[in-house]
Symmetry: C2
């Protein structure tokens, strides 16, 4: 295969992968946000069939031949073409490990598992979901073994979501977080917590929807490029820089849930929306890894969104949309109330200080499920025990326990550590950003363009052209050091609680 | 090809067509209800690529070979297999007329035309939409010429939406409607119209959403099988009996708009939801023609929904959901107010009596566009002139004129007559139903199960297993006679307006 033939083949496979990816992604997004409950089985059949086509495309000998022709002679090649071939190779290598039938059955399984989880969570019925999780764990264990039988299965999966991640790297990372933060958590636990009437008011869903519009505008997100859907467990997906979807969930008695969901998912969206136009409809568009993606979402959610200056900008919006509910509220009280730190049950609602403990629970459980030490049937008991151990809370039911997250139903085993890594990446990025620009003056005035401009320049516009390590280096110019994250949390909560 | 090989091939092609159909249908539904405005071009590329795959599937020699093997020797074959092969042959015959490139480009065009129309309508900017319509008309004219150059292009298109329909059949049909109904319209025009405060009240969107839930329940539609989306121009789509989507549009100052949209689309939904489970995931599921489909939607919307007994059942729901807006309203006033007959601008809001005139305008224009007598640029002028001629109203702008419907942007040229045919079919079906069951007693009590049961037995459960003519005969047991429709309208409006 000549270089030109190989590049032409690359274009062709890329176009097909993007089209099938958009079709399957839209079916899944629609399934999670709009489709009727009984539609999952039919959608699963369609996803299985389309998955089979993708499988055929990736495992075709000409695809591998084209990749090899490009990567074996890189001299004079455009850097983008090399990176496209490398990314395609990653997909090919992974998919080639799984026979077509098994791959198709897994697509169908995921569609049905998603629907089963959607029904099981509100019904608090772990037993109804467990058989799906069983098969998902089995599939992932098998995949990992095929990919590299010499490594523990969980290490193989971790590397899928964050290149280079492994238990050897994450064990000490989490240990460092735990030992450093445990005394702060303990000290904070002894302090009185702030409170304010706005936390206990009722916020009708339609008023929250209007508030979301204001929040998206504050974040500088153009709704012509980014829609907002509603679902059980908020997530973001994107099909290029003119078609991003965030989702949220409205709780009438809990206004900050959707507030911080929207900012978190909005952070993901800004990454996707910020990719350079020239990467559109190529494999290079989108986020470069889950860790870097979460660094962006949690950057906006916490480092910006739960900062004192941002609360100053947020207050007038809240008062505009919810005048009755926020009567008498001032920025300092708002700031203190969105930073109440205390051990709790739900990861997505956790404060920054205890957040990593929630991730650790999932990390431990995934480790044990993948090694075979923990049976799927025993997950609820183990979950509750770890919440007792790491957070000191009693889990009253599986709905607020091991059924709370959608990730496992979507096959995402090994994803959770990305949240903790991303949080730590973000703290280090903020340090670098503060050296370059005036972050807080504009944020206090509701102007996030400097923040998004800086992240856009360092990270967003490059899409997947940079590896995760390169994207991190582009932003921070130094090796990863979790000390920044720990230092940030200790300072912030020390000041908040007068430690 | 042996019979067994042919049947196996039929299964295989059918499964793929259904999967691609669901993927493309979901992309389109999502595009119309949830996707951000700028996403159309990217979605168009994906639809074009998937359309190319479908084209390849339908034009493959083995597909035609399988169809021929099945249809050339029907002895001892299951009736369902024959019908599946016949339906597949219709698609193959149509698609084979268009080269792959042109077919793919048309899929992309439709995606972009939909978005262009969505933007042009509120902006009242016909010029921005016209280039798309131009290309859509061109494509359809070319398609018709290739299909049967001996017939006028419009006849070929009419037959696509309603087998057997032609100008030779529709000209006298519309003429009969016009001459019979014109005197009634004229006489009604001289009578005073009812009025009531509830028509002028404000209905917040979130309250209308809750009302939709009640309305769907009243219609006996299980939301686990049927979702409600929101869009500019309401429509229904379905992917089997467990995945139907209706859509509506809420106007705060116009509660009956969404009310009757939901009942209309709910009628479409009941047809799709009523298909026999054994037809699921085959080409036999869904409606057998657009005329029969519209007979069902307009049956619920008008024959049932605008009847006196239904208004009795509707009143308590309205009062529950909108107590302030409906204060003092009684069933008789409601009945009279939802049957105000007067020439108006918007087809979907038209009363039953003048409705066919709206369809005639579109029929005339399509006829002239397809014959080449009317240039796309001249459509607004011709539209306004016909509204003056048939309805005696002045069209103030294109938004309320030729841009009001989404059909042309979706490539549906020849569809509109189905609405008038469907209305007339429905009136004749009601006659047959009234002979078999007590229609009105249960309806007045809010029980539509008898109506839906009768239609389900005669029409819905058969899906596409029956041809449109067979479905009509199954319900009516007599040849089609528009006299029933004219008689129904004359009696109803005669009584309402004391003629």
């Amino acid at each position: 295969m000549t270089r030109n033939e190989a590049l032409k083949k690359l274009d062709e496979v890329e176009a097909k992968l993007l089209a099938y990816g958009q079709a399957m992604g839209t079916l899944t997004y629609d399934g999670d946000t709009a489709a009727p409950a009984n539609s999952a089985a039919g959608r699963g059949e369609t996803l299985a069939l389309l998955g089979g086509v993708v499988h055929g495309l990736l495992t075709a000998p000409e695809t591998r031949e084209a990749i090899e022709a490009i990567l074996s002679d890189r001299e004079g090649l455009d850097r983008r073409d090399i990176r496209r071939a490398e990314l395609l190779k990653e997909s090919v290598d992974e998919v080639c490990l799984v026979p077509a039938d098994e791959y198709m059955a897994y697509q169908q399984l995921l569609a049905e598992a998603g629907a089963a989880w959607h029904a099981a969570k509100p019904a608090n019925d772990y037993a109804a979901f467990a058989p799906y999780l069983e098969r998902i764990v089995e599939y992932n264990r098998r995949l990992a073994r095929r990919k590299d039988a010499s490594k523990p299965a969980y290490d193989v999966l971790l590397d899928l979501y964050e290149k280079g991640a492994s238990m050897a790297m994450l064990d000490p990372f989490f240990e460092q977080l735990r030992t450093s933060l445990a005394p702060v958590i303990l000290a904070v636990g002894e302090r009185p917590k702030p409170d304010a009437p706005f936390l206990h008011a009722v916020y009708p869903v339609h008023e929250q929807r209007a508030f979301t519009d204001r929040l998206m505008a504050l974040m500088g997100i153009d709704r012509a490029d980014c829609a907002v859907g509603e679902t059980e467990h908020p997530f973001t997906c994107g099909f290029g820089r003119h078609d991003v979807r965030i989702t949220t969930h409205y709780h009438e008695d809990h206004v900050t849930y959707s507030l911080y969901s929207v900012i978190h998912e909005g952070g993901h969206a800004l990454y996707e929306l910020g990719c350079d136009e020239s990467l559109e409809r190529t494999l290079l568009t989108g986020g470069t890894s889950m860790g870097i993606h979460e660094s962006q979402s949690r950057f906006y959610e916490n480092l910006i969104g739960r900062s004192r200056p941002f609360c100053e900008a947020l207050l007038p919006l809240l008062r505009d949309c919810f005048p009755a509910q926020t009567r008498g509220l001032d920025a300092e009280t708002l700031y203190r109330c969105v930073n109440i730190a205390e051990p709790s049950l739900i990861r997505t609602e956790a404060d920054e200080l205890t957040y990593a403990m929630h991730v650790m629970v999932r990390y431990e459980l995934e480790k044990r499920m993948l090694s075979g030490d923990l049976k799927v049937a025993d997950v609820p008991g183990a979950w509750n025990e770890l919440y007792r151990k790491y957070l000191g809370v009693e889990v009253p039911d599986d709905r607020r326990g091991c059924l709370q997250d959608s990730h496992w139903s979507g096959g995402l085993l090994g994803y959770f550590p990305s949240y903790a890594l991303g949080s730590a990446y973000g703290a280090q990025m903020l340090r670098a950003m503060e050296r370059d620009i005036d972050v807080w003056g504009p944020v206090a005035r509701g102007d996030l363009s400097g923040v998004t401009g800086w992240l856009g320049e360092k990270i967003h516009r490059h899409g997947r052209l940079l590896t995760p390590a390169e994207a991190f280096a582009s932003a921070c110019g130094a090796p990863f050091d979790p000390g920044h994250y720990i230092g940030y949390l200790s300072r912030k909560y020390g000041e908040l609680y007068g430690l």
